[in-house]
């Protein structure tokens, strides 16, 4: 399904990430997935959180640069080759992947994907995974 991802611009200063997690924790917001893309001087933190509207509000109040993005959230069998077959569906339809992150636990792999056509990708992948 398509869900909202929270994206935060982070300067590479010691303590900046802690400031972010402190605010989320104090506001009872849970993080269920995250990924950080970094450069020498700044990073982008992408997160799936329990209450995105509240997260946006409290982070904006704290002067963080934030935005929301539509991403695709998938569950995929935790077996060799499953991800490869799913990605074949996307490339076959000419859909490109901007970035992705994920993990697997207890037989289920969870993936977050940012793709060029979220709606079409969702439909194709959900159909594909139902048939797995």
């Amino acid at each position: 399904m398509i869900i909202k991802q929270l994206t935060v611009f982070l300067q590479n200063d010691i303590g900046r990430l802690e400031e972010l997690t402190r605010i989320l924790g104090e506001n009872d917001i849970n993080i269920s997935a995250l990924s950080v893309a970094e450069t020498e001087t700044y990073g982008i933190m992408r997160m799936i959180v329990s209450d995105i509207d509240k997260a946006m509000d409290v982070l904006k109040d704290a002067e963080f640069t934030v935005k929301t993005t539509d991403v695709l959230s998938l569950q995929c069998p935790d077996i060799p080759g499953a991800l490869h077959r799913a990605l074949l569906v996307l490339s076959g339809a000419g859909i490109s992947i901007r970035y992705m992150y994920g993990y697997s636990d207890a037989g289920i792999a969870r993936l977050i994907l940012k793709i060029s056509d979220p709606e079409k990708g969702r439909e194709l992948l959900e159909n594909h995974l139902q048939s797995c």
Partner: protein, 432 residues
Amino acid sequence: MIWNEPKECMSRDERTAEQSQRLKETVNRVYHNVAFYRKKMQELGLEPGDIKGIEDIHKLPFTTKNDLRENYPFGLFAVPKSEIVRVHASSGTTGKPIVVGYTRKDIDLFSEVVARAYCCAGATKDDIVQIAYGYGLFTGGLGMHYGAEKLGAAVVPISGGNTEKQLALMQDFGSTILACTPSYAAFLSEAIEEAGIDKNQLQLKAGIFGAEPWSNEMRAKIEEGLGITAYDIYGLSEIIGPGVSCSCYVQEGLHVAEDHFYPEILDPETLKAVTPGTTGELVFTTITKEGMPLLRYRTRDLASLNYDACACGRTNVRMSKIQGRSDDMLIIRGVNVFPSQVESALLEIEEAKPHYMLIVDRVGTMDTLEIQVEIDDRYFSDEMVELNKVRQKIKHKVESILGISVNINLVEHKTIARSEGKAKRVIDRRKI
């Protein structure tokens, strides 16, 4: 050797008499030939006859960089264009350069003062001078070139850059004098070491370095690295170019060619003369130039003057090394940079906010310029590729205006301090 002993070693009384005469002639000339100065003097209720000697110089109007810009390109020339044999230009703050024009006599004068500088550095006609200043609109290359020819030395007009060739010719030709910016001299000394060249096999004995501020620590490093004695040369294109002043072997200040360029040190706030020896803004009046004479040009460079006799025998006044600036201009790798240039570049880019900080540093011997720019919420992207595009766009824009490479760093919004008054825009970490 002293190049022009009668002029460089005259007594203070003789000098004052000559300066007075020359100032009167200059004032008379600009009043009648330059509308800008006539108007300025009239506004002050001043006529040429009111200037009876050098002691009256404080009555004259000032000239600023902005006046030169407003009269771009030839508005301050005091002779018909047919008398001009060369123009030079330096980078301006808003795209328009500062233009200066020279008559044939001005070029002779330029060559004369640079020849004095070479002699100050112990050069003679037997020397081979490698000129690694840029040639072109910049006064450095051609100024040092004509001066060396006047002296009768052999000139290697290699210009700046092309380090491998610099080293090859330095060895093959046996160059004895190097003329370039101090940062390039330091860079060359490192390149010599990296190339495994034994500096003792080089014929180099002296270097004449200028066009950017440098410290005594840097001097020591260059002298050690190249096995030479380093001399300081000061100048600015508005006045003539390099050769306005230069250091001698005594190394206690730079002898000003004050028979041509009359120096004053003023408090930059009150514009009143400071007590001798005190640091203030250096102001020059050209008293012999024909093409573009300037009255009381505010250099914005901070220095002090020392009228004591020098052990080298020259009697002209010595100025200290430049202590800083009374405006916010930075000199980075020999290029003049004003924070306002960065600001106008950013204002042309919709993705950037006009909140920025310049961080100047020196890595090894090279100046670096990092510009921190706040990311605009509207252009913040969750994709690194997109953010890098924004960075590249800012980088290209700023580099095209400044003419030097910069490193752009995006920072979170509101992290650059806002200020009600004059915002602090520069952190200079260089030890100058």
